[in-house]
């Protein structure tokens, strides 16, 4: 699996765990605890990933080359040097973007059917 051969659309839909981890890393490189905190904060505490789920997901994302381990550290003086940092690869960024667009499309569709707040006009403007 090389980066220039992967079609991001073929990897969709992503599981919630994968999507949230990729979303967390879209904000910059992070270590496991920071990813877990980011996911918990962004979901208002609804998703609290356990170590098993988080590192199982990271393992699969590493194998799929959607993320990679970072050699550089944001500020070694401020952090535990044993922590491992991860960041999105180019493909990973494409995949999370594609998944976000897919969700946006679904949201627009739901608005169009008046399942969510907003008018048809607003929904079409959003598209």
């Amino acid at each position: 699996m090389t980066t220039n051969q992967i079609d991001p659309e073929k990897l969709l839909p992503l599981t919630p765990a994968v999507f949230h981890v990729l979303l967390a890393l879209a904000g910059g490189e992070r270590h496991g605890y920071a990813i877990m905190q980011e996911v918990a904060e962004s979901t208002e505490g609804r998703i609290k990933m356990g170590p098993g789920t988080l590192y199982g997901t990271i393992k699969r994302l590493l194998e799929a080359r959607l993320i990679q381990e970072s050699d550089e550290r944001p500020d070694p003086g401020l952090d535990d040097e044993r922590r491992r940092y991860y960041r999105l690869t180019g493909v990973g960024e494409q995949v999370v973007t594609a998944e976000a667009r897919r969700y946006a499309g679904i949201v627009a569709m739901a608005r169009g059917k008046r399942l969510l707040g907003g008018s048809l006009k607003a929904a079409s403007a959003g598209n």
């Binding site: 496991g32 605890y33 877990m36 609290k48 990933m49 356990g50 170590p51 098993g52 789920t53 988080l54 590192y55 199982g56 990271i58 393992k59 535990d80 044993r82 922590r83 491992r84």
Partner: protein, 400 residues
Amino acid sequence: MSIRIVNQSLLRSQKMYERLLIAYPRSHRENYGRAMSQLFRDQGRDAWNEGRYWGLIKLWLRVLPDLIKTSIVERFSSLNERKSMFDKMAALFRPRMAPLFTFLAVFATVFVLVLTASVVITFLMPETYASTARLKVEPEQESSFSGPSSSEPVSTYDPYFIQTTFEIIKDPIVLSKVINQLNLNGDWGKRYNGGVPLDTATTMKMLKQRLSLDTIRNTRLIEITVYSEDKNEAAQIANAIVQSYRDYRVQLHNEATARGIQALQNQYQQDEMSIRQAQADLDSLRQKYNIGSGMTDPQSPQVQPYWDEKRELDQRLAFHKLLAGKIEAEKLDGQIPSAGPVEIVRQAQPGKWPVRPNKPLNIILGALAGIFLATFAGAISALIAFVVGERKRKTPAATG
């Protein structure tokens, strides 16, 4: 809560989680074991700050299912790197064997989950120590001053005596003194109220919840047991309650004694006045009958009223003398320190081992519950697997 307890609880959780990582394949442990352990430590610290012991328990209730589920997934995925996990699962759950494998897998998963949860919760629960003091109590004797002739105190049977004693021990009249003496408002405020001292009513309520009173059957022995996470504190409180109750009873006893002596003294003074009057009357009679002058026969029936009066006066004097002796004896008794109606048979000592949680019992109950739930869940899953397998087996024949 001291830092030592925090560190112990977190350290215990951390070690337990590290041991449970054995559930993952070796390669996964080597790559991610340390990071997972570190993440768990961070989560444990957050959980403790959030809710102390309850926070840790909630974390474990979240982490354990995650650990079991992901370890199974990782085990399957490591079985054969060439095949996907789903291929491997499909091969494993062949139609004919599916119910059996399903039962075993679900049984093992549920059993391990329930058992581990019970073990973890048991070891995370705060430990409680108990200290017991023993008292011998006697009912307050009826007044011994009913008359000088009654030399022994009168004791009546009170069927509600022990219950009344229990209520008095739990009453603010006894417990307030304990709270003030041991500064429980301040100490428990630091421990349970973020450093803000508790009000006495709250402390009293908490103290009553930690207090257990019992009686030894067919005796007047009472056991006062106090529970606390601090073994020394449990013993101190139990002894303070015993002392406070004893002081209360001794005070009552002394007050009753003082009232009795006062009553005797009043009676003594009244008797003295009546004796003086009787003495005067007797003197009048003696003069009237010329007794002692030799002019009247003392044996004459005419002077009988004199002798009657004299006999009565002699009796009164004897009674009066006895009363004076009784008052002196009671005063002396009051000056001699005594245990009074309460005797401390045994002081409370700090417990050597915690009485709660009952670890072996909890784990056995957890195992039994695990077997029950695992069997139930396994049977349901096996039934579903059987039905699905049968459908799959029949579908090709129908379409063919």
